[in-house]
Amino acid sequence: MTHVATSPHFKENAKAALADTELQNALKFVEVNIVTRRREVVDRLPEFDALRDSARDIKNHTLAHLDLYLEAYEQKVTAAGGYVHYAVTAEDAKRIVLDLCRKFGARTVTKGKSMIGEEIGINDHLEANGIVPVETDLGEYIIQLRHEMPSHIIMPAVHLTKTQIEADFRRAHDKLPADRDLTEATSLLTEARTILREKFLAADVGITGANFLVAETGTSIIVTNEGNGDLTQTLPKAHIVLASIEKLVPTFEDVSQLLRVLARSATAQEMSVYTTLSTGPRRADDPDGPGEYHVVILDNGRSSMLGGDFADMLRCIRCGACMNHCPVFHAVGGHAYGWVYPGPMGAVLTPSLIGVDQAGQLPNASTFCGRCEEVCPVRIPLPRMMRSWREREFERHLSPATVRGGLAFWAFFAKRPRLYGLATSLLARLLALIGRRKGRFGWLPLASGWTRHREFPAPQGATFQAQWKAHKAGRR
């Protein structure tokens, strides 16, 4: 792992994020823009829910036969003249990519957007070895200038405002006239386009991710809107694909099911602008395309998720709908999660990949409102899995002593309903008595987390359970 995870400090991160005005300004767009537009595009397709079932079933089938689909896929890649490399760990993947880049004598490498690239920290590794990686997706380019991690899996720079990006461009593109106008998003994009066009033409190797690997033909697929991934993989002499084992899909018919839910869920588009199918290197009479085609398939802990409590997470197609709809993500953004994958999917996946001791706080960062599961195109039960992580965190004694003590105290009473009823009714009466004058408390022992921000109303009458009992008796 190259990125040092700050996930253990989620609480501190979140606190800082809430106080960060620029971040809060940037984040306010998420809910307004994406949530509404997704709803509209989904409503235009009556088959959407049936497609979600279909997408879930395809992923489940593939995962249950993953060993065989990997073998079939590899055979087809080889038959098309490409190469498949397997990487057990992130370190292995970095070594393979570096060796390939050296083999091609690469000085600069252009990159399409790849979450696996982020997961293994490929950029730092190449840079440390004298090779210049250039991110070409606009969002990734911006965060590379800032030496940051993406804060969202499909909108890497969603945490930034235009003003911040303008400042970064002025700093990085210091050879351009200082008096140029960069106030509009369009002018920022045009500047990036011009600068990156030269990089595309000069690069020795192009690295892209993969949304899907198709076993039927040994094809890798990228889904993008900018066209940067295509220039990345078409112009240099070699194309390296970074993927992970769960990207496998049996056939193109299966791919169509997934494509129909992907763009709608991710960017509220009917279809992304560029869906590109790549099979092997350029053919003998092709006028363009890469001379060599290599696919690096990463495991990095995924194989051990199969068949377990978190296997459903391997269905994820990285659309980002869960974070777009998450109230916690809306409030704190992606960086607070402290590693590569933020939001609900990150809260489930990160503990699997870097350990619950590192990322145990993330599954706690949920209100369990359930919106993530409601919008997930492959119906991943994210809240259920976050609960499973909470249980494990508790079992492994990783949660703080106060939390454990509190839970043990509560559990003692919860397991003894009579005692619970007695204790709560006594407590309610006591609080009612003390608070009878003001009707509310400005401070309460053990409840300062509540009373620091708002007053606690004094109980009136009997406990809920007593009232419920009386209510039911009355109806009879």
Partner: protein
């Protein structure tokens, strides 16, 4: 043990399988060979005329522009009209696709259609699509000398000619036609599914056309449905 063996062994351990189970192997082989279809949206399944109308609507919804002509001989005038509309130089680069080669380009007067290596400075290109997909207004282009892939991405303006009879209702029909043309389980180096011009929303989620690929995508549908 190689990394490959390690990963396959780990997967099999987690799944509780050996990899040699005949029924599992058969299920996988059958699925790949039979490629069963899933849910196909009804919207693309109308009459040929409805399909073409839907295709046109969806291309425009994706911020592309579209024109229909009756005959390949009408294509040059349409290309010229498009270039004129945006004050572009009357020149474009194309591949050696026979369907494009047979078009009487000289009919459009000053229009200069050249072939050869893609030139990064060329502002416009003309490609011939393998197919169109009505359900999302998507074009399907295959790589090769006929229609070099870089012509789909380097120029600012991409003009794509597609035969009306090649406009299908859904992606599934395209996969089938690709198999018919290139053989089962074989594909050209690149198949591009293109839906509208290039765009980015990476800055404050403001949608801007013309990120790294073409700023404009113009589709010319040739012939009747």
């Amino acid at each position: 043990m190689s990394a490959r063996e390690q990963i396959l062994a780990a997967i099999r351990r987690s799944l509780g399988v050996t990899g040699n189970e005949a029924p599992r192997r058969k299920e996988v082989a059958d699925r790949i060979a039979g490629h069963p279809r899933g849910v196909i949206p009804a919207r693309g399944q109308g009459s040929p005329q409805e399909r073409l109308d839907l295709f046109a609507r969806m291309v425009e919804q994706a911020a592309g522009s579209i024109a229909r002509v009756n005959d390949p001989a009408d294509v040059p005038a349409e290309v010229a009209a498009f270039l004129r509309r945006y004050n572009l130089p009357m020149a474009a680069r194309r591949g050696v696709d026979p369907r494009l080669a047979d078009i009487p380009w000289q009919r459009a007067g000053t229009l200069e259609i050249s072939t050869g290596a893609p030139d990064p400075k060329m502002l416009s290109s003309v490609s011939h699509a393998f197919a169109g997909v009505a359900e999302t207004g998507t074009l399907v282009l295959t790589s090769g000398a006929d229609n070099p892939t870089s012509l789909n991405f380097l120029p600012d303006n991409h003009i794509v000619v597609v035969d009306a009879k090649d406009v299908t209702g859904d992606y599934e029909t395209v996969w089938q036609r690709l198999r018919e043309k290139f053989g089962d389980a074989v594909l050209p180096r690149t198949v591009n599914l293109i839906t509208g011009p290039s765009r980015s929303a990476d800055i404050e989620q403001t949608l801007i056309l013309g990120a790294h690929g073409p700023r404009r995508l113009h589709v010319i549908v040739v012939g009747a449905a």
